[in-house]
């Protein structure tokens, strides 16, 4: 165990994993097909679980193992499975139909990361292994918010929301080194419920508007 701890420190494992998460978000924001988005989400969630495990080893906090396990169960297996089902049932086309083209989205994602890195560094100072994680997590949140804005299809909005939640989770435990297990479980459970409700909503929107294209929702305005 001490050996693994040393490796984690020497090789900057925590930085690597969180950078991997950031990259997967960027990949999602510029992906062209819904399936790719979903795959990016699965990767992102696996990395999150891995990061938790790494923290658990490095800081010897056993309850983070439990959190990691539930992350794998929920975010890597159940939610993607459910989303795949919804996508199949809705029979949406595979293209994500963004408002902005892929290069522009990439540039904006890049700009957001630069913004966060240049401004957050002055305000909140985090020492220790997790020194970069907070910035990365805020970047993830902003990029996924931007992606939600940029997409026309309601399904991809849900994806953006899920990414954002991962970012929040990351921020949460990089600052606190693990919230109480009960809270982590609660958040996970909320997430599951959220996704299911959104699934129902999507089918309803599909029924009333014939498509899940959000442009149609403007007609609801009084």
């Amino acid at each position: 165990m001490p050996l693994i701890k040393k490796w984690i420190e020497i090789f900057g494992v925590i930085d690597f994993i969180s950078i991997g998460m950031l990259l997967s978000v960027v990949a999602m924001s510029s992906a062209k097909r819904i399936e790719s988005c979903l795959k990016a989400y699965v990767i992102n969630s696996w990395l999150l679980a891995l990061l938790m495990a790494a923290f658990a080893v490095y800081l010897s906090i056993p309850h983070l193992y439990i959190a990691a396990f539930f992350t794998i169960a929920g975010k890597c297996i159940l939610i993607p499975y459910f989303l795949r089902k919804v996508i199949r049932e809705l029979k949406v086309t595979r293209e994500v139909e963004p408002y902005l083209s892929m290069p522009v989205s990439l540039i904006i994602s890049f700009a957001l990361v630069v913004l966060v890195y240049s401004f957050l560094a002055e305000g909140i100072f985090v020492a220790g292994v997790a020194r970069n994680v907070l910035k990365i997590s805020v970047s993830i949140i902003l990029i996924s918010l931007f992606t939600m804005m940029n997409r026309k299809k309601a399904v991809t909005q849900v994806m953006g929301l899920l990414f954002m939640e991962n970012g929040l989770f990351l921020a949460g435990f990089s600052l606190t080194y693990g919230m109480p297990t009960i809270i982590e479980l609660g958040v996970l459970f909320d997430m599951m419920m959220g996704v299911m409700i959104l699934g129902v909503f999507l089918t309803q929107i599909k029924k009333s508007f014939v498509s899940v294209d959000l442009d149609q929702l403007t007609s609801l305005k009084g």
Binding site: Y99, L115, V116, F119, L120, E122, G123, I124, V138, I141, L142, L145, F146, M148, M149, N150, R151, Q157, L214, D215, L217, T218, S219, L220, K221
Partner: protein, 669 residues
């Protein structure tokens, strides 16, 4: 407590009594409750000086240590409670006749009872929370009563204006209470008063101004009065009487409570400008109120504008009291405050009387328009007599009550203008001048109202067929008229109750008017003897009758038509109309009224054969046109601009969130 039970029974019976024809008798239950309450309030005030006196009502429900719903009687509370219950007694007796054939008797009956109850709750609330709850209940119930009478669009609009204005006012009141709570940590008025004693002047001033605007809205001070002449006439007359007679006093009560009790604990310092603000507002309200009352053709609107005027007079007294307190001249302040309280009580009596009287008139004529009345004194003698008594009281002529309170107000303002320091002299002098102008104009307004409605010839078929109102209605008018007379002849009765209040300087008022002897102020600075005036008037009248009987017996009496300049047939169209009567004043105050005239002539054959001429004359509503219209237009414009933000596009909404997040990041990171 017993009277509370009567009210609840009344409301419940209104809900359950099956026969609609019997409903109006239930108002007598309310009357009984109000009568009992009046006795207990008067008793409590009378006993105040004596040791071991119990409060009229003490009730507290503790929700948490800091939060309690409490109702408590106290001197100021009991005084306004007395005012409410006497007016409510008369109005309830009146209603038992007036509401006989009404459109929605059940609904109006229940809400009428709730209205009186909620006003009582406002006066007796011991803490900010229960005060606000009762206040809102009072506003909402009265709103429903305003829109209950007719389904006309005008009434609905009046209700809407009223609801909007009153809620803006409530927002200000909540602001004042929250400031006080933040500073003292107590919602209880007594706790607030204790906590605010040592606080900074800026905080106190903020609380004062917020509460003055909020309560002033309800009291109908200029320029916050515009709802009043719309809403009061729209309600049924028994409710208008209570709204004008009592509900606007809730605003007065609020101002007095906040300024004298909460902000003015023992040894408190007042800023002089508070009093000056109140005094100036009072002067503006009284003059403008009566000026607009003069121009009204609608009897109830005239009365409503006159309420604005009378609230102005009450605030003249209150403001003068605050100014004197700020200079430590407690004796003068007590005089001014006593005048204000006296006038509040008087106004409840005579405005109640006049509104109820106008209800009787409408009952007979089926119109509110003065131009359709005329000659009613012959057809409705009792109503006419009592209405005349009310008019004389409101014009402040002896031997009625209006004279006493306006005389007291005058005395305090005049004494203020001979007592240093210099600039308070100027202010009180100007206030006195405004009051003098108001008095004269009010007399003109009520000569017009009474003369056009009751004297001369009927102006229309409706007026010709008018019949006297039923017994309960005239009886309650008679009761209020008697109250006006008693309060005018024996001011010591009420002054003794007022002097029991624990505000500095009021105690001297108890000895100002011993029974059956002159009323003097400031140690004999001036005085008059109301009972003697009444007695001499009565003797004079008797003497005339006796002399006429003695010397007139031998003369021959011939009955003939009035002289008609030889035209041979007098028609109602030859009389002064309400509009024509006030023409000279319209010319004098032209700059304020901005009268508009429109003559339209239609021809059969131009230019010689005229088929008809229509003439319209109107005054420009100054406040509405130059204050409220621009304001509403501005708000509407801004709202339209803001509406563009609400595009309905989800990505845009997400964009707002994102911009906010980035903004926060830039600001706080």
């Amino acid at each position: 407590m017993i009277s509370l039970a009567f009210f609840i029974c009344g409301a419940v019976f209104f809900a359950i009594t099956p026969k609609k024809g019997l409903l109006h008798y239930l108002y007598l239950l309310y009357a009984a409750g109000a009568g009992l309450a009046a006795f207990s309030f008067a008793r409590a005030l009378y006993d105040l000086g004596s040791p071991g006196a119990a409060p009229t009502l003490a009730f507290a429900l503790h929700i948490s240590p800091a939060l309690a719903v409490s109702f408590r009687g106290g001197p100021l509370q009991d005084f306004f409670g007395l005012l409410l219950s006497v007016a409510a007694f008369a109005a309830s007796v009146y209603s038992s006749g007036y509401m006989k054939d009404n459109a929605a008797p059940r609904f109006q009956g229940i809400f009428y009872g709730l209205f009186i109850l909620s006003m009582g709750a406002v006066f007796l609330s011991g803490d900010a929370l229960s005060f606000l709850i009762s206040w809102e209940a009072m506003s909402l119930v009265s709103y429903f009563l305003v829109i209950s009478d007719t389904e006309s669009e005008a009434a609905q609009n009046a209700g809407l204006t009223y609801a909007t204005m009153t809620h803006i006012g409530t927002a200000f009141i909540i602001g004042a209470f929250m400031l006080a709570f933040a500073a003292t940590g107590s919602l209880d008025f007594a706790g607030m008063a204790a906590g605010l004693a040592g606080k900074s002047m800026a905080l106190k001033s903020a609380i004062f101004i917020l509460s003055f605007i909020g309560f002033g809205m309800k009291a109908g001070i200029v320029p916050l009065h515009i709802w009043l002449p719309k809403a009061h006439p729209a309600a049924p007359s028994n409710v208008s009487a209570l709204m004008s007679g009592v509900m606007i006093k809730a605003g007065v009560y609020g101002v007095m409570l906040m300024s004298l009790y909460v902000l003015g604990g023992p040894g408190a310092h007042y800023a002089t400008w508070w009093g000056i603000v109140v005094l100036a507002t009072g002067a503006a309200s009284s003059v403008l109120g009566v000026l607009y009352a003069l121009m009204e053709k609608d009897l109830k609107r005239l009365l409503a504008y006159s309420s604005v005027e009378n609230v102005g007079i009450i605030f003249l007294g209150t403001g003068a009291a605050l100014v004197f307190y700020s200079f430590g001249q407690t004796a003068l302040a007590g005089l001014a405050l006593a005048a204000a309280l006296y006038h509040a009580m008087n106004h409840a009596m005579f405005k109640g009387l006049l509104f109820l009287g106008s209800g009787s008139v409408m009952h007979g004529v089926h119109s509110k328009n003065l131009e359709e009345m005329g000659g009613l004194l012959k057809r409705m003698p009792y109503t006419g007599l009592f209405f005349l008594m009310g008019s004389v009281s409101i014009c402040a002529l002896p031997p009625f009550n209006g004279f006493v309170s306006e005389w007291l107000t005058f005395q305090s303002l005049i004494l203020g203008s001979v007592t240093p320091p210099a600039y308070s002299k100027v202010v009180t002098l100007l206030g006195g001048a405004a009051l003098a102008l108001t008095g004269a104009l009010a007399a003109a307004a009520f000569v017009k109202a009474f003369g056009v409605a009751f004297l001369g010839m009927p102006r229309g078929p409706k007026a010709r067929e008018a019949r006297e109102a039923g017994f309960p209605m005239t009886a309650s008018l008679g009761f209020l008229a008697a109250m006006c007379l008693i309060l005018g002849v024996e001011p010591g009765l009420l002054l003794r109750l007022i002097s029991a209040m624990p505000f500095a300087g009021l105690a001297q008022m108890g000895s100002a008017a011993p029974f059956h002897s002159p009323l003097t102020v400031a140690g004999g600075f001036s005085g008059f003897w109301p009972a003697a005036i009444f007695a001499s008037m009565l003797t004079g009248l008797l003497a005339i009758i006796v002399l006429a009987g003695v010397f007139g017996r031998r003369r021959k009496i011939t009955y003939a038509d009035s002289w008609d300049c030889g035209i041979k047939a007098l028609t109602p169209r030859m009389q002064y109309t309400a509009t024509a009567f006030t023409k000279p004043l319209r010319v004098i105050f032209k700059t304020l009224y901005m009268p508009r005239k429109e003559v339209r002539i239609s021809f059969k054959q131009k230019p010689l054969f005229v088929s008809g001429i229509t003439y319209r004359s109107d005054i420009t509503p100054f406040m509405e046109n130059y204050l409220y219209k621009p304001l509403t237009a501005f708000v509407g414009k801004v709202a339209l601009k803001i509406r563009h933000l609400q595009s309905g596009s989800l990505p845009l909404y997400l964009g707002y969130i994102m911009l906010t997040l980035i903004g926060l990041l830039l600001v706080w990171a």
